[in-house]
Amino acid sequence: MARQPEGPPPPPTVQKLRLRYAKRGPLRFASHRDLARALERALRRARVPMAFSAGFSPHPKISYVGAAPTGAASEAEYVEIGLAERRDPEEVRAALDASLPPGVDVLECVEATEGTGSLADRIDAARWRVELPGVSPAELAAAVAAFLAADVVTVEKRTKNGLRDVDARAAVTGASAGEEAGCAILHMVVRQVTPAVRPDDVLAALVAVADLRPPSPPRAVREAQGRLDDCGTVADPLGPDRVAGTRCQGEPAAV
């Protein structure tokens, strides 16, 4: 006999907001679970009127899209939240940003437009920037060239089901070597594949093809996420909502 919680069901979702946020500085060491917990608490502190799931343990309606790995910084993390009352997206952004610890910064907030597709469907690739302290730019350029010249670069990767061989090359649609203040920088665009190919896997591939071994741990930043277009650029996944939002303003947002 299934028990039902007493009382009326929770109010429905009346507005979906999509947010882009960054994790920066020391908070790059936060895991996805850490960030999820921090976000839930910040939503409460910011008094965002969240919609909740029904049941004995109601959960706020939050959907996360592909989190950056622990240790990687990001300028482009995405999350969608369901509200039980309408709010102005910019006010939610500002309130939430103020409630999160410095280093987790909410950069954008737009209202999701019905019929323009889910956020997850608009993301299939990421653009990365990896700083390699102690590696010479020329050394990196040679390694990248060797990597791109290969058809397949197999690396070993730890997954839920143990160690597994993954082709790091196939997921990378573009890569180049750059330099900033004497530090070698790897720029690349990586497609979402299963199992995921992460910056660490590409760095392992550079060891495999060119024996590139950075003397100190590289620092990766996810600069963008979105759908890969034909010219190899990553499109803004909030673009369709923004466009639709300007075309048809709904009822004035309550504050």
């Binding site: 020391p26 908070l27 060491f29 936060a30 679970r33 409460r44 610890p101």
Partner: protein
């Protein structure tokens, strides 16, 4: 150990730490940046405190004591406080390799740069982590090797009521409530620095020894008799007190801390905020050190509690508030507190909870009230003793019928899971006393199934070995050996599993008896135990509260090697019963409890006599109030919470 290039005191070690963090487990625990963390400029203040909880970050961060002192100190314009925790062996190895010292998480400053290192010991099993932190910090392990450039190492927390085992490693120990004494210590250090550090470290310590509640072990000499017991503890200076008393904060409403509790990004052991609703306990449970050393009872008022809950929720965004104390249902206005808070937070997805409670039908009513807004998952009771007889010995009297009735009421009210806490190895205990736990659990499940009409009610029996503690009536008791504990737990497990139809609804959680023996050594040890701790640490002992790091063999081997030449051994410190006339290592440290009263209570325990709570019956002369000039502070106040606009409505 650090020979690292450190130039400016207070400079951040983060640039050198960061590359190491990419190589360790759960790096988030080392980066700070918690919500409500505070960072102050080094040069703006006279006195710098590093506050340490000597266990992993996930355990240490939620510690209320440390959070309170962190706020109290940072509110002072002339002081700053930063936090540091035990680092796991993976990072410790990298820090040694790269010459990075023990650091604070707030600004990643070197602990060695601070004026004071305050370490809060909730349990004695943190002692090896103290040595590890000192060594990583580059601070000499032994207090007498330190000079005025090194931090003053101050121990606090309940274990500081017998700091003798770590007397060689700490400069001071603080007895009792910390809120006011940290201010006094800060004043002394500030004045000494301002005056140009006259008399060096010894003069500073002498000044600190004159602060009420501060014990400086180096000014007390211990001599031993031919039987191995202490002959005398004598002060070596006339200007320090012969006995050191404890500090007591009398008006909790004047100290509404933490006001802005820390909220970590990393997961911690308590994913909720806590509001301390009263301090102290006079129930008189004879095993309970906390209840003995924190007397008298001082309640926070219902309105004080209401505003702390409101302010804390706003400041943290937590979804759950624990109403914390040693026996929360005993607050004189707990019924109104529960009702009015539940009213206030109705419909906000805010949970309210009480920690484990006495076995009392009223507690089910309270729990029902507090859970009216949400989950009714589990309820915890602490009968502590398995039989009525042993419960009289420990002075936690509840009849078996009442116990079964209370738990059954919980099931009938929709609680599916009831947890029962017990101890094993109590004085005078026999196998039969422990086996009664099985009978009790079986009866609870049978009655619970009937009362609730459900098959899926569950009961978890959680049981641990009893460790006799200083400043309790059981301080003279012989501790039960690890084999005794383990054999009784085995019998209990068999008894619970005897009837599968009921047994499958009963969970048994227990710890083996070995860590309890080490805890026993450290709890009632004297200064000679310090060399055992040091040897264990030198041989790799860390994180002794964690079963995966704890090594009983390392401790027994170190104890044998270090204690044999002194004519004592592990058993002497643990399973040996003490006589009335023995000088106990902590006799010169005054919790306010009268030693004669403790002895009488010990004798009454042995004859299974109970003592009532002095909140409701006449004073039984435990000694605390007259010694410290304190008195019980309880309501009811008759006040009500004001309506508020609440979070998340």
């Amino acid at each position: 150990m650090t020979d690292a290039p450190r130039t400016v005191p207070g400079e951040s070690l983060y640039p050198r730490l960061e590359p190491l963090l990419a190589q360790v487990q759960k790096p988030i625990q080392y980066v700070g940046g918690e919500l409500n963390a505070q960072v102050k400029a080094w040069d703006d203040v006279a006195v710098h405190w590093a506050l340490m909880y000597p266990d992993a970050y996930e355990v240490g961060l939620p510690n209320q004591g440390l959070m309170i002192l962190y706020e109290v100190l940072n509110e002072r314009p002339d002081a700053l406080a930063e936090r540091t925790y035990a680092v796991w062996p993976d990072l410790a190895a990298l820090m040694r390799e790269h010459g990075v010292g023990q650091f604070t998480v707030d600004s990643h400053r070197a602990v060695a740069d601070f004026d004071l290192l305050g370490v809060s010991f909730a349990t004695e099993l943190g002692y090896t982590n103290l040595l590890e932190a000192l060594d990583l910090a580059g601070v000499p392990l032994h207090a007498h090797h330190r000079d005025e450039t090194h931090p003053v190492v101050v121990a606090g927390g309940h274990a500081a009521f017998n700091p003798e085992p770590i007397a060689d490693f700490v400069d001071c120990a603080v007895l009792g409530d910390g809120e006011q004494v940290v201010g006094d210590i800060t004043d002394v250090v500030a004045a000494w620095k301002e005056q140009g550090r006259p008399g060096g470290r010894v003069e500073l310590l002498a000044r600190l020894a004159r602060v009420d509640g501060v014990y400086v072990p180096r000014f007390y000499a211990v001599s031993y008799g031919p039987d191995g017991a202490i002959a005398a503890v004598t002060r070596t200076r006339e200007d320090v007190p012969a006995r050191v008393g404890k500090r007591t904060v009398m008006d909790l409403d004047e100290w509404p801390y933490p006001k802005t509790p820390l909220v970590p990004l990393a997961e911690s052991v308590h994913e909720r905020m806590s509001v301390e609703i009263f301090r102290g306990c006079t129930r008189g449970c004879r095993f309970c050190q906390a209840g003995m050393i924190t007397r008298p009872v001082r309640e926070r008022t219902i309105t004080g509690i209401g505003s702390m809950v409101d302010q804390g929720l706003r400041a943290t965004g937590y979804e759950e508030v624990g109403l914390l104390s040693l026996s929360s249902a005993d607050h004189s206005e707990i019924g109104q507190i529960a009702k009015q808070l539940a009213d206030r937070y109705e419909g906000t997805n805010t949970g309210l909870s009480l920690p484990s409670t006495r076995v009392d039908a009223f507690n089910v009513t309270l729990a029902n009230e507090l859970s009216r807004n949400g989950r009714r998952s589990g309820l915890t009771f602490a009968p502590e003793g398995g039989s009525e007889r042993i419960r009289r010995v420990i002075n936690k009297t509840v009849s078996k019928d009442d116990l079964v009735r209370t738990v059954t009421t919980a099931y009938a009210n929709g609680w599916q899971q009831v947890k029962l806490y017990f101890m094993c190895g109590l004085p005078t205990e026999t196998d039969e006393d422990v086996l009664e736990i099985a009978e009790l659990a079986v009866e609870v499940i049978r009655a619970g199934r009937e009362a609730s009409g459900r098959k899926d009610v569950r009961c978890t029996v959680s049981i641990g070995g009893f460790v006799p503690k200083p400043h309790t009536p059981f301080q003279w008791a012989g501790q039960a050996g690890a084999e005794t504990i383990d054999s009784r737990l085995r019998l209990l497990r068999q008894a619970i599993n005897a009837d599968r139809r009921v047994g499958r609804s009963i969970g048994l959680r227990y710890h083996d008896g070995k860590p309890g023996i080490v805890e026993g050594l450290l709890s009632r040890g004297d200064r000679r135990v310090g060399r055992v701790i040091e040897r264990v640490w030198r041989e790799g002992g860390r994180f002794d509260g964690w079963s995966e790091h704890f090594s009983f063999e390392r401790w027994t081997a170190a104890a044998a090697a270090e204690l044999a030449p002194l004519g004592v051994d592990l058993d002497w410190y643990t399973i040996r019963e003490r006589g009335q006339d023995e000088v106990l290592p902590w006799d010169h440290l005054d919790s306010g409890l009268d030693k004669e009263w403790l002895w009488d209570d010990w004798q009454e325990a042995l004859s299974e006599e109970e003592v009532a709570d002095c909140r409701w019956t006449p004073c039984y002369d435990c000694g605390v109030c007259p010694t410290n000039g304190t008195e019980i502070q309880v309501g009811p106040t008759g006040r009500s919470l004001l309506p508020l606009t609440v979070v998340g409505r």
